[in-house]
Every structure is written in C-alpha cells, then in structure tokens.
C-alpha cells in the first residue's frame, strides 16, 4: 500500500501485481497469446497450418460454435447453464432446411423464422427456469431431451439434401467478405461486438453480471433477477437459432441429428474462455475465443501427426487447466490482499 499524501487504494496500485496475475486476468489477451504461440509451434511442424486457406476454413466452422458459445456464456454469467442449445440448433437447422426444401418461404424469411424458433425455445427454457423455478441444469437437461425429441418428430428419417436448398443459400459459409474475411467470421464478430456492447453498456448487461455476481445484493438493489434470467435464456435461444441457420449453410445436408453432442464443446469453449461457472464473471469475447481455440486445436492435431483420438483427451486437459488456473489466480489474489493488510 502506497503511503503517499493522498489516500491510495489497492486498486490504484494493482498494476504492481505480478505479471502472471495480470496476464491471467486478461483472459482474452492470454488466450489469444497462447493461440499465437501454439500456432507458431504447430506451423514449425506443419507450415500449412498458418495459411489463409486453412485458417479461414477453420474459422468458418469455429464461428458457428462461437455464436452458440456467446449465448451459453450469457446464461452461465447469470449462474445458470443451458444444456439444450445443441437441440435448439438441431431443431432450427432442420426447420429452416425443410421449409426451404418445400419452398414454403424464401431464404430471408426462413432465416428469420429459424432465428425466431430459436428465440421461442430459449423463452421456453426461460419460463421453466425463471418462472417455474426449476434449477437450470435440471430444466435444460429436460428440454434437451424434449427439443431433440421434437426434432426427431419433425424430421423423421427425412434428410434435406444440399440440392433441396435454394441455389446460393450455402454460399455464406464459403465466401469471404471483400475476399478477406469469411462471412461466417463476420457474423460471429457482429454477434460478439453487439453482445459486448450490450453487456458492457446497457442496464440489462450490467444486471446480467449483477445477478450472477451477488444475487443477494442484486435483490436489495431491486434488480429483477427473474426477468434477467429469462432474457438471458431467450437470447441464448436466439443465438442458438443463428447458429442453427449457420449450421444449415455450412453443412448443407440436414437431418434430425444435426448438432448432437456439441453442447459439451460449447460449454467447454465458454469455460476455456474464462467464464466462471459460478456466475458473474467472464466476457463473451472470451467465450468466442474459447470456441476458436478449440476449433484450432481440432485442426492442428492431424497436422502435427496426432490422431484425432487425442482431441478429446486434450480438450479435457484444457478444461481442467483453465479452471485450475482461474482458481489459483483467485486464491493468489486473495492471499495477496490478506498479506498486504497484514503489513
């Protein structure tokens, strides 16, 4: 603690803290840095890794996960979890593809409808969690089952082939804006930027953090926690809808199984991106970067000669390391505070 004339708080001298701590606090920067370092290492073994064509290909798929992860992050920041996103993606993907195949709607309307379906399913989750007070893990475990069942009911064994989609519908997954940035990456960037602005600069955004950070204090301040939770689930559903539409564009051929099992990757991306499952902390940019990180890892493995069988194990280790680092940082911070005060 500085003993100068004016009153100084720890916050003013925080910059003196260990470099490591500062580094780890800025999860987005450190993740980006880790990606750069690992990328450099991989490209020593496999120079093809750091080529525009490879990176854009990876980024397109990762963007879908990133969009879904942003919604999941929002829910996790409010101290909840949404396990049903993958089923929402599946329902939306099939609905959009099926509607296009049967020419019920034209492409823009189908996209809007798909996102609307996502919103609707998200709102259903919101009602069950915020209104019926079912713990989110139970509620969304249930809706995961229900939505997936719904998907099978709607789809049956029908598969919408690529040829069933209007010509050019899948182009956004494969074209670059101005020949540079894949359009999917642009979508993800827009979602991240918009989300960041909303979370940082709107009353709702700050309430999301407040509810997750200290529910009791939020209640004292009169923050409508249930409404905030409901909104978070709704937005998560909406973004799952966006991801579902992107899914159709990327894979082209859609049946009732689209998205099966990807919720674990989405939650993993959020955790790796530095969003605490205890709520209240983390950014959606981090979550999106987490998705990109996992996507790059999946891409790099075969290039460095590791079989894909290593992927799962590496994901597991990455998750464990990420949460352990968070815990160590927090504990170190607390100890530092205690020691400073003991002086």
């Amino acid at each position: 603690m500085a003993e100068t004339g004016a009153i100084t708080t720890q916050a003013a001298v925080r910059t003196r803290g260990s470099v490591l701590t500062a580094f780890a606090r800025q999860r987005e920067l450190s993740l980006a840095a880790i990606m750069v370092v690992l990328g450099a290492l991989v490209s020593i073994v496999a120079p093809q890794f750091l080529t525009i064509s490879n990176l854009t290909a990876v980024a397109a798929l990762a963007s879908i996960y990133a969009v879904a992860s942003v919604g999941e992050a929002l829910v996790i920041i409010t101290r909840n979890i949404d396990l049903s996103v993958e089923a929402t993606i599946g329902v939306v993907a099939y609905c959009v593809a099926s509607i296009l195949e049967r020419h019920v709607l034209d492409a823009p309307a189908a996209i809007v409808l798909g996102i609307g379906i996502g919103l609707l399913l998200g709102m259903a989750n919101g009602v069950i969690v915020a209104l019926l007070r079912v713990p989110s893990i139970v509620a969304t475990l249930g809706t995961l089952s229900i939505f997936r069942g719904l998907d099978y009911v709607i789809a049956g064994s029908h598969q919408v082939p690529l040829a069933g989609l209007p010509p050019g519908f899948t182009d956004p997954a494969r074209t670059n804006l101005l020949g540079l940035l894949p359009e999917f990456v642009v979508v993800a960037l827009v979602v991240v930027v918009l989300g960041t602005v909303i979370l940082r600069s709107t009353r709702f955004g700050r309430q999301v953090y407040a509810v997750g950070s200290n529910p009791e204090a939020a209640a004292i301040l009169g923050i409508p926690a249930r409404l905030v939770e409901f909104s978070a689930f709704s937005v998560c559903g909406l973004l799952a809808g966006v991801a579902g539409v992107m899914w159709v564009m990327f894979f082209g051929t859609i049946n009732g199984t689209a998205g099966t099992g990807i919720v674990l990757s989405i939650v993993a991306a959020v955790v790796v991106g530095g969003v605490s499952t205890l709520g209240g902390s983390g950014t959606i940019a981090g979550a999106a970067l987490g998705a990109l990180f996992l996507g790059l890892t999946a891409n790099a493995l075969p290039l460095v000669g590791l079989s894909q069988f290593w992927l799962q194990a590496i994901y597991g280790i990455v998750i464990l390391v990420a949460v352990s680092v968070d815990a160590v940082i927090l504990r170190r911070l607390q100890r530092a505070t205690a020691e400073r005060r003991a002086r």
């Binding site: 496999a46 329902v91 099926s98 209104l131 029908h158 082939p161 891409n299 075969p302």
Partner: protein, 352 residues
C-alpha cells in the same frame, strides 16, 4: 397475474405448434403406415420387424421404401423400430422387444456384428427368422445376410474411380472413412488397397486414411485437415455417404474443385450439385430401395420355408437381378448386385 401468465403460455404454445407444423412436411413418411392387412400369397399375414442402425438416417428410410413395397405386394406387415443414434447397445432392446412380440422375421442392419449377436441368436431360438442387410451381424446370428454389393467389386470400383479422377492416374490420394469399427468400410478399404498394389495403379499414392465417424462435424474437420496437410492431394475417396458429402463441401469451400476430386459412395440426391460443378464427377452406390425389397422377400421366403438359408440354395425375386435366380453363398450371404456408377449422364434419373 396468474391468468395473464396462462394466457401468455397458451399463446406461446399455439405459436410454437404453428411454427413446428410448418417445419414438418409431407416429406416425413408416417411410421409403419405400410401395414396393410390384405393377405394374399404364400407369405401373407407375416409381420416383419425392420430394425435399421438408426431411424434418422435417410439411407435406411430409402431402404424401407423397398421393404414397404415388398410387404404391400405380399400383404405383410412391417414394424419399424430403432434408436435415433447408431449405437449397438441402443439396438439390443429393440431386438429383444421384437422377440417378445413374436414377429415372424427381423430385418436388421447390425450396428456392431458381435454386440447384437446374442440377442439375435435368442430371437432365432424363439423361431424368428433373421435377415441381415447393409451391415452384417456375426455369422451364425442370422439366417441370411443380404449384401448390397460384392465387397471386392467395390474395392476395385473405388480404385478405378480414383484412377479416373487423378490426372493420368498419378498423385496423392487419401481415404475418408466412417468409424474405423465399421465392418464394411474396412473390408472395402482393404480390398481397395489390394487393388492399388497392382501395376495399373502404381502412380497413385495412398497418403492417409482418416475417420470421420459418420459425423458431419468430424468428417468436415478431417477433410479440412487432409487438404491442409497434403497440398498435392488429387483425390479424396470416401466410401461413406456422410464422408463423401463432407469432403465435397470442404473441397468446394476451399475453391479447389479443379485440383482435388472427391469420389466414393454417396446418395445421388446429395451429390448432384457436386457432379455438376465438377467436384465429384464420378461416384457410386447401389439401389438402396432394391436392397430393402430383396431383404423383405428373403425374409418372407424364410418364413414360408421356401428357403432355409443354406449355402447353395437358389431363389428368384421378380424384378431384381433381371429375374434371374439368386444363389445363397458362403456364410449364407446373398449379393444384391454390383455397385452402380453415377456421373453427370445419369445422376438426375435417381431420387434417393
């Protein structure tokens, strides 16, 4: 307050119902609707359980149209059951339940030959005829296995198509398979490797075999990695309908349709755009509905006692094999016929 919530919920539910009814269309065949009671002929009135690997895959839906057609012609009844994920442990309860229901026969695509064997043997012990199709249960756990295609034939076909697509039959090729546990995939790949070892194909170099698990995401990632890892790759051979589609999409996305070609086994409906844009000028498959049709006919003949499944028995099925007789071969296997080659001259004639 309470009432308003109820009102809102009702509104929400009705909107949802409207939306979802818009999604599901005529494309969905109603399950087990094919059950027609009208009995005629020797195998009339039999009930057959149709158990695909999973009920979501359109391959099995296509096969079922053949099964239903045959049942409709003979007056039998088809019960379609099955999991929504292709996993052997999920398939077993359906076998035991069909046994409980005392169906006349079970037509099954086994999701693991050893896994389902005990349950199938129990079914056979209960007097139920078992017909395998598409993917074989273990030998002894079926009465007849209807093989879609001659294994060695497909191996040769795959090698031939790769040779045709690689410029002057030289350059790097790679295989994108399904799960490495898949019996038929591995058989084809082995036979393809044998074929590649012959002189005609010495210009082709098989650089890698990767597995996409018949999962769209994994197959896509694997195909992307192949493109990145082998800049000189000429052909990706994917003997799986999921894999060939993923590979074609990845190649097209990378803008490499001219330099990298994709071939293998795929659905005409999936591959039409890629045949036309030159990403995948040639690929193959057999007539999946015919496979279902033959399987049902075999099941009916087993039930009626016309055949027993012994090696050397012969029978004819009207409309298949040019009305010539089929012969049951070693391990009670019947082969539907050779793989069918699709290219831009004929692909538009098919709809499955």
């Amino acid at each position: 307050m309470e009432l308003r919530n109820v009102g809102r919920t009702v509104a929400l539910v009705s909107v949802a119902a409207l939306v979802f009814s818009a999604c599901s269309g005529s494309a969905t065949p109603s399950p087990s609707a094919a059950a027609s009671a009208a009995a005629s002929g020797a195998a009339a009135g039999i009930t057959v359980g149709y158990l695909p690997k999973d009920i979501v895959n359109q391959y099995f839906a296509a096969a079922k149209t053949g099964v239903d057609k045959a049942a409709g012609e003979t007056g039998g009844k088809v019960i379609q059951v099955g999991p929504n994920e292709a996993k052997p442990d999920l398939q077993i309860p359906f076998i035991t339940d069909l046994t409980t229901q005392k169906v006349s026969a079970i037509i099954i695509s086994a999701d693991g030959k050893d896994e389902v064997a005990p349950a199938l043997k129990a079914a056979m012990a209960a007097g139920i005829k078992v017909v395998g199709f598409d993917s074989s249960p273990a030998v002894g756990a079926y009465n007849v296995f209807v093989n879609q295609v001659d294994f060695s034939g497909v191996g040769v076909n795959l090698a031939d198509w790769a040779c045709e697509l690689a410029p002057s039959c030289t350059g790097d090729i790679a295989i994108l398979s399904a799960a490495a546990t898949a019996t038929n995939q591995n058989a084809w790949i082995d036979l393809m490797k044998t074929t590649l070892a012959t002189d005609k194909y010495k210009g082709l170099k098989l650089v890698d075999t990767v597995y996409g698990n018949d999962d769209a995401t994994v197959s896509t990632q694997q195909a992307q990695a192949l493109l990145t890892k082998y800049p000189n790759l000429k052909v990706i051979v994917a003997p799986t309908t999921v894999g060939i589609l993923a590979a074609a999409q990845v190649v097209k996305q990378a803008g490499k349709s001219d330099s990298v070609k994709v071939t293998g086994l795929g659905f005409p409906n999936d591959m039409k755009p890629f045949v036309k844009d030159g990403t995948s000028p040639v690929f193959g498959l057999w007539s999946v509905p015919d496979l279902g049709y033959l399987s049902y006919q075999v099941a009916a003949k087993l039930v009626s006692g016309e055949i027993t499944g012994k090696e050397g028995e012969t029978f004819t099925v009207k409309g298949l094999n040019g009305d010539k007789p089929y012969t049951i071969g070693k391990d009670s296997v019947v082969i539907l016929g050779p793989a069918f080659r699709f290219d831009k001259t004929n692909v538009d004639n098919f709809n499955f």
